[in-house]
Amino acid sequence: MAVPLREILRTKDFVVTAEAAPGKGSSVSKTVEHIELLKDKVDALNVTDNQSSVMRYPSVGICVLIKEHDGEPVLQVTCRDRNRLAIQADLLFAYSRGVDNVLCLTGDSVDVGDHKEAKQVFDLDSVQLIHLVHTLNSGKDMAGNELDGGTDFCVGTTATPSADPLEPQLIKVEKKLRAGVSFIQTQAVYDIDELKRFTEFVRKLDPNVKILAGVVPVIGAKMAAYMNENVPGISIPQHVIDELAQTPKGTGIAKGIEIAARMIRQTKEEKICDGVHIMFIGREERVPEILEAAGLL
């Protein structure tokens, strides 16, 4: 039996989570492969919710699959595609099937996805969503009605330690902490000092919340430059780009894995935060290499 994430967060010094991204289509075989590969190597698997506004197999469906394969899922819920009725209904369904970790996110705009003419919902924002989950946890729905069976979700959220300007983001983090979260999985971080500053800020406000630093391996100098330019909330320092630029052709992935593993090691050894959340999008099968190189296997 997988150990519940809330238990892991309480007891383990360094928590490791990764992603099981749903595919596009009714076939789940590829995702099941990733689940089988990763479920015993990490503490929990996040399942993205129409990631990057690209329509995919539903997050809750993959979460149920992870449970069936004896893994520990984290249901990612964005505010983009569902109104408050639909979100509550999905959360009740998830909980009834044993999925009891939820990560509350805003969600990307439909402009970046593959259904650019879709109506964006955003009936709630991520702070309101956190409140909503606690309302369900109290045995009521958002309208104040008693539920025939409430929930007991372990609630997490995201944050962007590299935001510029940072202050407005930190105010939002403060509101999320007040709403009540057990863990934060950050946007990808490449600058340890940035991560330190963010961790200190959070711990001052809530010493109990666990912070898992986001790790997205960068596999080339060009990709790094592109990400710096185009991926909001990401800032890859020049020394990382230089290191990637000096890498011989064809070894970019290995270098990306090496850099990610080094960062994870440092984070762990210096106890900068409580763990990492590894997102190797589209290369889930190589996550074990990162874990191994970081000494986590």
């Binding site: 009936d123 924002d125 991520s126 702070v127 944050a159 935001a163 300007p165 909330g233």
Partner: protein, 219 residues
């Protein structure tokens, strides 16, 4: 005011294709100010339609008229004679104006020549920006006079999303400031940042029961 922009010529021509004699009707208020449907634009569109028609060997006869506000029945009455003499009306007013016209002259086909886009204001010459979503539940007291409902690309009420670009630009449009960064800076300047720290509960999305209808007493 209400902002609109003219529809593509092909679309307008498709709308009026079955008709020969057209009244091109402008509105003298919002759409005049935003250069979409005032007297000047009426003149331009009418001559474009005639030219386009004649280049294809099809005669298009246009009448032109602009009333002060197409969204008021009383002001449409003055168009009665002209409307009676044409096969169809092409309205350059906002959606409210087009519908008032279509309801007032029920026997006549009325077509829109503009797309109504938002409630906004002119930021500089030739640039109009959205300012209000007519949500029926004004939040501007909490946000330093900046509306997150429409000026945040996601309509978020408790602060910026994680997508803010470097320098505080919007994730969706790098030329636009993130509304929440604007709110932050303004409240900071006024020493009222505590307002941003307050939790904002989910919005009543039904503050205006659609279709909206307000009975008001004259002051």
């Amino acid at each position: 005011m209400i902002i609109a922009e003219r529809k593509p010529m092909e679309e307008i021509r498709r709308e009026i294709a079955p008709y020969k004699k057209i009244l091109v009707a402008g509105c003298g208020t919002c759409v005049t100010v935003c250069w979409a449907g005032g007297e000047k634009e009426v003149g331009i569109l009418a001559s474009q339609l005639r030219l386009a028609g004649s280049s294809e060997g099809k005669e298009v006869v246009t009448l032109e008229a602009t009333v002060e506000r197409q969204c008021e029945k009383e002001m449409l009455a003055e168009l009665r004679d002209k409307v009676e003499g044409v096969d169809a009306v092409l309205s350059l007013a906002c959606g409210a104006g087009v519908q008032t016209m279509a309801g007032f002259f029920e026997d006549k086909p009325v077509f829109p020549a503009v797309n109504t886009t938002f409630i906004g204001m002119p930021e500089k010459e030739g640039l109009w920006v959205e300012m209000c979503g007519a949500c029926g539940d004004c939040y501007l007291d909490r946000t330093g006079g900046v509306c997150p409902v429409v000026r945040c690309a996601k309509g978020l009420l408790n602060g910026p999303c994680g997508g803010t670009r470097k320098g505080g630009k919007c994730e969706i449009n790098p030329d636009e400031d993130c509304a929440w960064v604007v709110i932050y800076r303004r409240l900071e300047k006024q020493g009222r940042l505590d307002l941003m720290r307050e939790y904002c509960a989910p919005k009543n999305a039904r503050a205006v029961k659609r279709p909206g209808r307000i009975h008001a007493a004259k002051a």
